[in-house]
């Protein structure tokens, strides 16, 4: 079953948080939702999680007990221990001995020695891993993770992506919101949001292939309004193509899409 949204529009106060957004996430795959601050990632995640948000458009999600959700704000009870967090979530989902059920995930993420530590006393990375494990405990059909890797050290980030991949390989539909484009490369599909609208969407290869014109790697761009820094060098976009074109990555595609959006 494909879960997602179709023509989703959400207005918060007087601001359009989402404007006609489509997202279709397939079982066993990771769908990345990428965008900057205020792009609408969190609103999309909250709607997918079934939270009470007024919206227009179609939302297709499983029943509540089949959803796992980690909000951007945390997702763990800071004044409960790791084991107590798992106990509570397990009890809510009718799982017997949840700490044992989560044993392999705790081992894999190096959280096993800390089951008696208060979640509030864990490092940021450990807390996020606990949140994801807790959300995965009941093997949800739809797992929604809102910026699980933001502000996390590289080792924890790698652990988190292993968790995400294992959830998908167990058949879950995983939606991951992220501000990092390199993370979108790990997903089966990517939806780039900008100011509540879909900028580009598709499989990473499709998205890269869909970019019109060409991107050139250069030391001195001809037109600064179409150029952006990449390390010590520049990238420049030529709408009508260029003989010295370099293979674009997702960052190039998103910047070009934003340039075109600004020009239109």
């Amino acid at each position: 079953m494909t879960w997602g949204v179709s023509r989703l529009t959400v207005v918060l106060g007087h601001t359009s948080a989402l404007d006609g957004v489509d997202l279709a996430a397939e079982p066993g795959r990771v769908a990345a939702v990428v965008g900057g601050d205020g792009a609408g990632k969190t609103t999309l995640c909250r709607v997918l999680a079934g939270l009470p948000i007024a919206h227009e458009g179609a939302v297709s999600i499983p029943e509540r007990r089949r959803i796992g959700y980690v909000p951007a704000t945390g997702g763990v009870f800071a004044d409960l221990t790791v084991a107590e967090n798992l106990d509570f979530s397990g009890a809510a989902h009718g799982i017997k001995n949840p700490v044992a059920a989560a044993g392999s995930l705790l081992e894999r993420t190096a959280l096993a020695p800390f089951v008696d530590r208060l979640a509030g006393n864990l490092s940021g990375g450990m807390r996020r891993k606990l949140a994801v494990i807790t959300a995965m405990l009941h093997t949800p059909e739809l797992l929604i993770l809102d910026e699980p890797t933001t502000g996390i050290d590289p080792v924890s980030r790698s652990d988190l992506w292993r968790l995400i991949a294992s959830a998908a390989s167990n058949g879950a539909t995983v939606v991951v919101a992220s501000a990092y484009l390199d993370e979108a490369e790990r997903a089966a599909s990517v939806t780039v949001l900008h100011e509540g609208r879909v900028l580009v969407a598709g499989a990473p290869d499709e998205v890269r292939g869909s970019m019109p014109g060409a991107v050139v790697d250069t030391e001195s761009p001809a037109d600064l309004s179409r150029a952006w820094r990449r390390g010590a060098r520049w990238r420049e976009w030529f709408p009508d193509g260029h003989p010295a074109a370099t293979a674009p990555d997702l960052e190039d595609v998103v910047i070009v899409a934003a340039l075109r959006e600004g020009a239109s």
């Binding site: 079953m1 079934g50 009470p52 007990r65 959803i67 959700y69 704000t73 945390g74 809510a92």
Partner: protein, 340 residues
Amino acid sequence: MRAMILKEFRQLRRDKRTVAMLIAIPVILLTVFGYAARFDIKDIKTAVLGPGAESAAAALTEPFEVVIIEESGGDEVARRLLRDGEAVVAVVTGPPPTVYLDGTELFTAQSALRRVDSLPEGVSVEVLFNPELSTTNIMVPGLIGFVLLAIGTIITSLGVVKERADGTIEQLAVMPLRPRDVIIGKIAPYFLVGVFDLVIITILGLLVFDVPFRGSILMFALGGLVFLFVALGFGVLISTVSHTQGEAIQLAIMVMIPQILLSGLIFPLQSMPIGVRWIAYVLPLTYFVMIMRGVFLKATPFDALALPYLALFIMAIVVFGLAVLRFRRDLAPAGRDPGP
């Protein structure tokens, strides 16, 4: 330094609740202290009973306000009228002529006592229910309500706001828990702690301060539990309109201050002008104080306290109901389309 002062003012300007507190609290305090904080009694509800009651009543001058005249009444009727709160002073023409005063209406009784001292010899004066006119005896039953209000309002609101600030309320909303499971599960521990506190502070009041308990335990429990619901309701209601624990505390203080000053806990209701007194009658602590003083000190029967119980019960339904509805709004899942 100028930059620092400017920064503080800019931050303060955007913190509308703090600005409201800085302006509203002084205005409330001045209004309350100016009009309500009075111990001088202008009207003393008086019953005149026995043969010649009509002429005796006619002889009474201000501040005695005769509300009951019964030629056939005697000592028993006088005690009953004072117990049920229908009068604060009862004059029985005798023989022997006796003036009864309700000692639980401390300031009224003291005011009346100063005046009856000038009565002719042979008239006996008896202070009922609180013969020593002990301040402790009348304060402790009311203070129980203040403690419950503080626990119910502040602690509950902080507990619920914490879920919102930590983002765990969203976690609860997507878990397979019914909104009523979350609401009851969230409030039940505070309710039980409140009940525990109610018992502990009451026992302390009785043992340490030697406050008498003359009424029905059942009536005490009923009043305490209904009032606890109101206090918890205030706590949840505050939490639904607060984003941080600081905001919740500010609002809780705004809810508590008028109750402390206007409920009759400290200043007698009879001394408040009508323009301020009506506020007292929309505050739950007012009715709790009436009930507890009646139950502790006078063994007032239920039918005489039915009105305060009813008022408290209605407030519990309104405040708690409103709180649950607003809390539920945060938890209820969105309507879900069946999907393609």
